[in-house]
């Protein structure tokens, strides 16, 4: 039982950053932006979260700065891809590398360290204890004591679903991806929807980054996003952007993350257990491709 609860909790905390980044990517997916900068936004968010939390001693400021940092990246994306019409793929790749370079540079410049910055002064995002429910066996141990950001991710999932499918904003967002010329001619500039979708993705990736460095662990390490932005991109592609589907897929990836940690207890090399989420992504892609082939032949 203990193992199971540990596995579920590992799954939830592994899924949270991927879910937040993927929700951000869902907005750009619907708006027809080929946004592959989630990796860089996560990393930037993670860095600024530590920066804010360390200097002000408040995790809230950390989260705020993380969102602002990721938004800055989103603004650069908008400047190049939406306004100057640079290729989105190129912009995304360059921004990801910019994020790696800039965070490494600032790590060295501001904290005077290379590699990892960890300090007792970094305030982590607190966990939420739910009275009464926490006394229920099993369910209580899972529902209570989760990081605040986990609940933010849950709220963000349903909010995104509602925004994308049940509001005028969502309709226009999807129209911008589906038929931008029609949207333009109906009086709503599709470039504005694309820019808004990028801002939304900046906010959500910033939150995901803050969870990485103030929740999942309590430090900043060079390149600590470790491909999670790419996994979230895979998650979006697998379920065509639907936020609820994204949540399910993220949990699946989170499960493989937790499974990796569990396997370490059975003397499997740490390097192999760390591969599990990436292998899981490949397996998920296999089933996605197989289903698509079936649909094509049917």
């Amino acid at each position: 039982m203990k193992i199971l609860i540990g596995l579920i909790n590992g799954m939830i905390s592994g899924a949270t950053p991927i879910l937040l980044a993927a929700l951000g990517g869902a907005y750009t997916f619907y708006a027809g932006v080929f946004n592959i900068a989630m990796e860089g936004m996560l990393l930037t968010g993670a860095f600024f979260a530590v920066l804010g939390s360390y200097y002000t001693g408040s995790w809230l400021v950390g989260i705020l700065l993380a969102v602002l940092g990721a938004l800055l990246l989103a603004l650069i994306f908008i400047l190049f891809a939406v306004i100057l019409k640079t290729d989105e793929f190129v912009t995304g790749i360059a921004l990801n590398l910019f994020a790696v370079g800039a965070t490494t540079y600032m790590l060295r410049k501001i904290f005077s360290v290379k590699g990892v910055f960890s300090n007792a002064g970094i305030q982590p995002i607190p966990s939420v204890r739910i009275p009464l429910i926490e006394n229920i066996p099993v369910v209580g141990e899972i529902l209570s004591g989760q990081n605040l950001m986990v609940w933010v991710a849950v709220v963000a999932t349903f909010l995104s679903y509602f925004l994308i499918f049940h509001t005028r904003f969502g309709l226009r967002l999807r129209a911008a991806g589906y038929n931008p010329a029609r949207l333009d001619s109906s009086g709503v500039p599709s470039s504005r929807m694309r820019a808004l979708s990028l801002l939304a993705s900046g906010v959500l990736c910033g939150l995901g980054g803050a969870f990485l460095s103030l929740g999942y662990v309590n430090l900043f390490a060079e390149n600590m996003s470790a491909g999670r932005g790419w996994i979230s991109l895979a998650a979006i592609i697998l379920v065509n952007g639907n936020p609820l589907g994204v949540a399910l897929i993220s949990l699946l990836f989170g499960f493989s993350d937790g499974l990796g940690l569990l396997l370490q207890g059975y003397r499997v090399s740490a390097q192999f257990t760390a591969m599990v989420p990436y292998v899981a992504t490949l397996i998920a892609l296999y089933f996605y491709a197989a289903r698509k082939r079936q649909m094509k032949s049917a």
Binding site: L84, L97, V100, G101, L233, I237, S269, Y278, L282, L285
Partner: protein, 345 residues
């Protein structure tokens, strides 16, 4: 051609200006910084030789990315292919001991084989299961990272070392040096020539390029798209793998942690800046290498951390690509306007 060079120059100038603004904002003197940067990378025998040598692991993955992108293949697996190539060359160097004239080519071929195998996995997954190579190669990068980390901590670890690394490879596999010039640059020149020849003069290269521009046209014209896809993946994998092998044979002589550094991603950026041209990739590779090499020297005398080179590179990429596309549309707009005027009169 003239417009290309002009675009590049404008882009580089704007990027350096932006970099100067970043430096001023932090209280550094940009002129001094840039002077130190290029002094330590271009001017003088030793700096130039170092820049050339450091360009090798940038240009090879750059060529790999350029050929792949121009052929419409989204191979982003250079980082993984590079470390797998390095691992193959290292293992070969640990267990073989041939005379240098044989050993060096064998290790280079092993490195290419390592890159080809890793790229081949992605190629087969796409070919038989229709899995997009874009995400697959990215995931394989992470897997290769952990796999090589395992290989140097468990089976091939140097028992006398404190941190994970392999023992040194046999000395017969070390690339010879002439003064400051490391013979690894010969491999780079050869790779540039071969890539250019295959891509611009051979039938195969022609088919790849056509497929990259218009896959449907290529297929109707009789190209075997699927076979071409696999051969592009294998060739680009071999180029990236060779880069890893050369790093082992030419500088570290063993597989150490963090061997791949950021070489392959820098290579991808170089290919993008170069608009997937073979010669342009080579030239931008030298330029990026000059920035990275100079940054290390610059740090010694100006107290600007050398990581600034990574920021500068990303700014360069964005500005050069944006200005290229922006100028192109501007030129098109102007010529369209002129034509419209001519049509009216």
């Amino acid at each position: 051609m003239k417009q290309k060079v002009l675009n590049a120059l404008i882009g580089i100038l704007v990027a350096l200006l932006l970099g100067a603004v970043l430096l001023v904002l932090q209280g550094y003197n940009p002129l001094e910084t840039y002077q130190a940067l290029f002094q330590f990378s271009l001017f003088g025998y030793y700096p130039f030789a170092t820049t050339l040598r450091n360009a090798v692991p940038l240009v090879l993955p750059g060529l790999s990315a350029a050929i792949a992108f121009a052929s419409g293949v989204v191979n982003l697996g250079q980082p993984g292919q590079l470390v797998m190539g390095a691992l193959f060359a290292t293992v070969g160097g640990l267990y073989l001991d041939l005379p240098p004239a044989l050993m060096i080519p064998v290790l280079a071929l092993l490195a290419m084989l390592g890159g080809m195998i890793w790229a081949g996995i992605a190629a087969l997954l796409r070919r038989f299961f229709d899995m997009s190579e874009f995400i697959v190669t990215l995931m394989l990068n992470m897997i290769a990272d952990y796999f090589t980390a395992w290989a140097i901590t468990e089976p091939f670890k140097d028992p006398s070392a404190f941190s994970p690394m392999t023992p040194q490879i046999a000395a017969s596999g070390w690339l010879p040096k002439w003064g400051e010039f490391n013979s690894m640059i010969l491999f780079m020149f050869a790779a540039v020539l071969v890539s250019w020849f295959v891509f611009s003069r051979w039938k195969a290269g022609y088919e790849w390029r056509i497929t990259g521009q218009n896959a449907l046209f290529a297929r109707l014209g009789g190209c075997d798209i699927n076979r071409n896809f696999v051969s592009v993946m294998l060739m680009t994998g071999a180029l990236a793998g060779l880069a890893g092998g050369l790093v082992v044979m030419g500088s570290t002589h063993r597989f150490i942690r963090g061997l791949g550094a950021n070489y392959a991603w820098d290579g991808v950026m170089i290919a993008i800046v170069a608009n997937n041209g073979i010669l342009a990739t080579f030239l931008y590779g030298l330029f990026f290498s000059a920035i990275q090499t100079g940054a290390l020297g610059m740090e010694l005398i100006t107290s600007v951390p050398n990581e600034i080179s990574q920021v500068l590179q990303a700014v360069l990429v964005l500005v050069i690509v944006a200005s290229r596309e922006y100028l192109n549309t501007l030129v098109e707009q102007l010529s369209a306007r002129r034509r419209a005027r001519e049509a009216r009169t």
